[in-house]
């Protein structure tokens, strides 16, 4: 009757979202009077999970699962859920987990709600709050099936320590050839760069920068802050920056702690993609730019003057506060 979470890892190390999911699960479990079980796939040291309240770990180690295969991973989660007779399965909102979630839901005949923000509004009937209409509204969704699957929106709950002693059990689910109809051939990934998905801070720039040759200061600002770089749609359409940096409605979604927009006017499609970021800062010459209506902090002025100054000030700040 425990709650099952899929604690996602990459190269053996847990992703931060795994700890947020564990923190969230612990609170839901406490409210329901139950415990948290985590299933892991090829994670190294699983003891870290107990810091965030996980009571039991089902540890799956398999060479077959070395690369991510949605169907096989979904099969693992389904079998873990059945083994523990869980009624609630929680996943995070990474690209991989969002790929898995509907497969897990169908396999368990479970109702599924994505983009969940906050604790269940009610546990009987079971209702959760989720974002909809590209962050322009919330929707309270009721799930009526016995087993339920939720995916928690990134950065919507936070990470809370809650020490427990987790019992670890090796788990060997049956994985058949039918799970491998989609085979990974190659992965192309920029190494050593903070990705938009993992970043706590994102520095993003738009057409206001006038040309690709001016991105040096954006990269420097990002590097000082340990941030990922991103760009607006026109910038990626013009080929100034790679498509993988395009954030907005048709690009990557951003749900970060701090989003700094430089020379981006704030078209509605851009805002839709970044609006679930907690704090938004805008730097723009045009005080009438729509971005100022959704930002928390703003500076009206020339990016070419302000960004270099900001770099120096952040450097000094970091030197003092580290």
């Amino acid at each position: 009757m425990s709650i099952l979470i899929y604690a996602e890892s990459a190269e053996g190390k847990f992703k931060k979202v795994a700890f947020e999911l564990a923190s969230y699960a612990k609170k839901v479990a406490a409210d329901l009077g139950t415990t948290v079980t985590a299933v892991t796939v090829n994670a190294g040291d699983v003891s870290e999970l107990s810091k965030y309240g996980v009571d039991k770990v089902l540890k799956v180690s398999s060479d077959k699962l070395a690369g991510f295969t949605a169907k096989a991973y979904a099969d693992v989660i389904k079998q873990a859920a059945q083994k523990e007779s869980v009624k609630l399965v929680l996943l995070s909102s990474t690209t991989d987990s969002l790929y898995l979630a509907p497969l897990v839901a169908v396999a368990l005949e479970a109702g599924f709600a994505s983009n969940v923000v906050g604790l269940p509004v009610s546990t009987s009937p079971f209702q959760v709050k989720r974002t909809a209409f590209s962050n322009k509204a919330f929707n309270i969704t009721e799930i009526s099936t016995e087993v339920k699957v939720l995916s928690l929106a990134k950065n919507s709950y936070g990470i809370f320590e809650n020490a427990s002693s987790a019992a670890t059990e090796d788990f060997n689910p049956t994985i058949g050839d039918a799970d491998f109809g989609v085979k990974v051939q190659a992965v192309e990934k920029a190494s050593g760069k903070v990705t938009i998905a993992d970043a706590d801070i994102v520095v993003s720039a738009g057409r206001g920068l006038k040309g690709p040759e001016n991105w040096g200061m954006i990269e420097e600002l990002a590097s000082v802050l340990g941030a990922a770089t991103a760009c607006s749609k026109p910038v990626s359409d013009l080929g100034w920056r790679p498509h993988s940096e395009h954030v907005g409605q048709t690009g990557k979604p951003v749900a970060t702690n701090l989003y700094i927009a430089v020379g981006i006017s704030g078209a509605i499609q851009h805002i839709a993609g970044i609006n679930s970021s907690k704090v938004k800062v805008v730097i723009n010459t045009d005080a009438e730019a729509p971005f100022f209506k959704v930002a928390d902090y703003g500076v009206v002025g020339d990016a070419f003057e302000i960004v270099p100054k900001l770099i120096e000030k952040f450097k000094a700040f970091k030197a003092q506060n580290s």
Binding site: L103, F112, K129, N139, S144, Q185, K252, L258, I268, V281
Partner: protein
């Protein structure tokens, strides 16, 4: 090759989002509906297969008669025929059940649906179809090519892309990248005229449960006004980010 493109009929991005009936329903008053952008990238890629590899392209929507203009637009863009499953799309699972039935009966080789719709952002329909039918499935797909019964695809992953080999029948959760924005087509007069005479079949739904229900909607609390700092007071900004917002 028979391709099915699943079309969601969604409010245009610039629409005002309001709710009615005690905040339990989306207010469609004055709202312009369009083909869901993620579906439109898939549709355009399907038309490419039609022109380059002789595929036939069927578009499908689960919805009432009011969604037919959206299907006609897809026909005007170039789809060969359309199907409307005559039912209110109550939740993602219900829609997936209807689509799975259409796919099974029609014997489609490649099914392209947007990875998520702009209205409910559920992101579950393509995966649920794949789960129900046991077909191969690639989500967040940004490239797909087909050679006989083999397919190659890439999907967007955090920080890059992953290239996969798979086979038909295949379900794609599509997005920008399948084609670029500049490749999207605006229907021309000839397309609009021929779309009027193309076949649009209305099917009655199969029995299926809804597993979830949107019981209520809320709008985010109004935002407080932006705090402005002058270009000479960047220390003020840093101070606010550190002490007030606590994000650095």
């Amino acid at each position: 090759m028979k391709i099915l493109v699943c079309i969601s009929h969604v409010p245009d991005t610039t629409s005002k989002i309001n709710f009615t009936n005690g905040d339990s329903e989306f207010d469609t008053n004055g709202v312009q509906f369009v083909i869901n952008p993620n579906d439109e990238f898939g549709l355009t890629r399907a038309i490419w297969f039609q022109e380059q590899q002789g595929a036939t392209v069927t578009v499908v929507n689960v919805g009432g008669p009011d969604t037919e203009p959206t299907l006609r637009k897809a026909l005007a863009i170039g789809a060969n025929e359309a199907i409307r499953v005559n039912a209110s799309p109550t939740d993602g699972f219900f829609v997936a059940k209807q689509l799975a039935e259409v796919i099974k009966t029609g014997g489609y080789d490649l099914v392209i649906a947007g990875k998520e719709s702009l209205d409910y952002n559920g992101g579950m329909v393509p995966g649920m179809i794949a789960g129900l039918l046991g077909y191969n499935f690639v989500n967040s797909c940004i490239e797909v090519t087909v050679d006989g019964t083999s397919a190659k695809a890439s999907r967007e992953i955090d920080g890059g892309k992953e290239i996969v080999a798979t086979s038909l029948p295949l379900i794609i959760g599509g997005q920008k990248g399948l084609v670029e924005e500049k490749d999207l087509r605006i229907p021309n007069m000839r397309g609009i005229m021929t779309a009027r005479t193309k076949v649009l079949t209305v099917l009655e739904p199969v029995a299926a449960n809804s597993e979830t229900k949107a019981v209520k909607f809320e709008k985010p609390a109004p935002k407080s006004a932006v705090k402005l700092f002058s270009a000479d007071d960047l220390d003020g900004l840093i101070n606010a980010l550190h002490n007030e917002a606590k994000v650095i």
